[in-house]
Amino acid sequence: MTGFLRAHGYEMARLTFEHLWLTLFAMLLATVIGLPLGIVLSRRPRLAKPIIGFANVLQTVPSLALFGLLLPVPWLGENAARLAILALTGYALLPILRNTYAGIRSIDPTLTDIATALGMTARQRLLKVELPLSASVILAGLRTATVTCVGVATIAAAIGAGGLGELIFRGVASVDNGLVLGGAIPAALLALLADAALGFAEKKLTVKRA
């Protein structure tokens, strides 16, 4: 164990950091796209079905296939990390989009009505009423997205984007279980950690109803 860490510890740390970086970057992108889009769709439920449907389809494409399909795309294919981040963003998009939409749509219409009747502008209503009331649902979406991303990011190593998958793939190729675990365990820990932290925040933001 200590021997393994002495031999691979530095690499594990580097790859964990890389893994984290891929995930965070993709989550940032997916949130920047998914949250506003979810808000817009909650105003136009007619558009919601096709767009959420599309995100749904994206979600079902096997990750290895998606990486492979994107590889020949000109600008994307040039840089493995760039490609990996974009693919991960695609996977993270659906839970964020769907939960933002569902969270806002599930607010008691009496409350949005009274917010308007109190003289709130659309922006005030969004910031003071709709987002706080759907925060826990949106956060649940972010949690699902993060855990998915951490998992899928291990596959990114297949196209040379780095991350903990690199240890796993190398371990599989050289029939070295130690290497496989050296990649799998930190990846699992990352997912658990993200799940716990975001789960905690979700609980904190849950609103008690009268």
Binding site: T110, L111, A117, A210
Partner: protein, 255 residues
């Protein structure tokens, strides 16, 4: 004569399907008066009330507030000048009572201390004594207390007009009478123009100087309170019969 606080001028609402919700409403509501709107479920009371704060728009005719057509006013500033109380209270579950009550002031840009001061003065006014209420959340209050908070919020920015849609409808009879008494003293003290939707003729007669009866989106009777009981209008008689019926039942169970 002073201009009417609220006016409906040939106001009608016909839905796109052709169903008529309100037709040819002509009314002038005097400043500082309390007017009750009565009518059976679906007669258009809520819709008429919402014409005043631009939460509904007519398809013909217009509503005017202080002489100004509602349609030509800025919605948000119009609404901020009109208190609105509903049966469901509409308190925001993620905000403390203080924040809920202070919302109209928050939107007017008042400071935190200004809001706290005003809320501390409003809560006792609606019968919520003690400092603890301000920090609580809606789920920590009883239905009657929440209703009082809703009223306090409507009064927060001291709006000249108050719209009340069955504000006491969901309360038990004892709390209801308590609230009516409090409302009566508030009305006397604050000189608001109040439009009160209710199903209860006795409540209407107790609180309002004028009672308007709606049916199928039309005004079918419009009387000063003291002319209601002697009225021979068939629409009005229906309500009086309903009240008498209740009383007779009570007397029968008592004997």
């Amino acid at each position: 004569m002073a201009i009417a606080a609220v006016e409906f001028d040939a106001l009608s609402l016909v839905l796109s399907g052709g169903r008529s919700i309100l037709s040819g409403i002509h009314l002038a509501i005097e400043q500082g008066s309390t007017t009750a709107l009565l009518g059976r479920s679906g007669s258009g009371k809520t819709t008429l009330l919402r014409m005043v704060n631009a939460m509904a728009a007519p398809t013909a005719g217009e509503a005017r507030v202080m002489g100004e057509p509602v349609a030509s006013q800025d919605c948000t500033s119009l609404r901020r000048g009109i208190g609105y109380v509903i049966q469901e209270t509409g308190l925001f579950p993620h905000m403390t009572i203080e924040r809920n009550v202070g919302l109209p002031l928050e939107m007017a840009g008042a400071s935190k201390t200004q809001i706290a001061t005003r809320v501390a003065e409003l809560l006792p006014m609606v019968g919520l004594e003690g400092t603890s209420f301000a920090r609580r959340y809606p789920w920590q209050l009883s239905g009657g207390q929440r209703q009082r908070v809703g009223l306090a919020r409507a009064l927060a920015a001291d709006p000249p007009i108050l719209l009340m849609d069955e504000p006491f409808g969901a309360l038990d009879p004892v709390t209801r009478v308590e609230m009516q008494e409090m409302m009566a003293s508030l009305i006397e003290r604050l000189h608001k123009t109040v439009l009160l939707v209710t199903h209860d003729l006795e409540e209407a007669l107790y609180l309002a100087q004028r009672v308007i009866f709606l049916e199928g989106g039309r005004v079918v009777a419009d009387l000063p309170s003291n002319k209601v009981m002697p009225s021979s209008d068939p629409h009005v008689r229906q309500y009086i019969r309903a009240v008498r019926h209740n009383h007779r039942n009570h007397e029968e169970t008592a004997s």
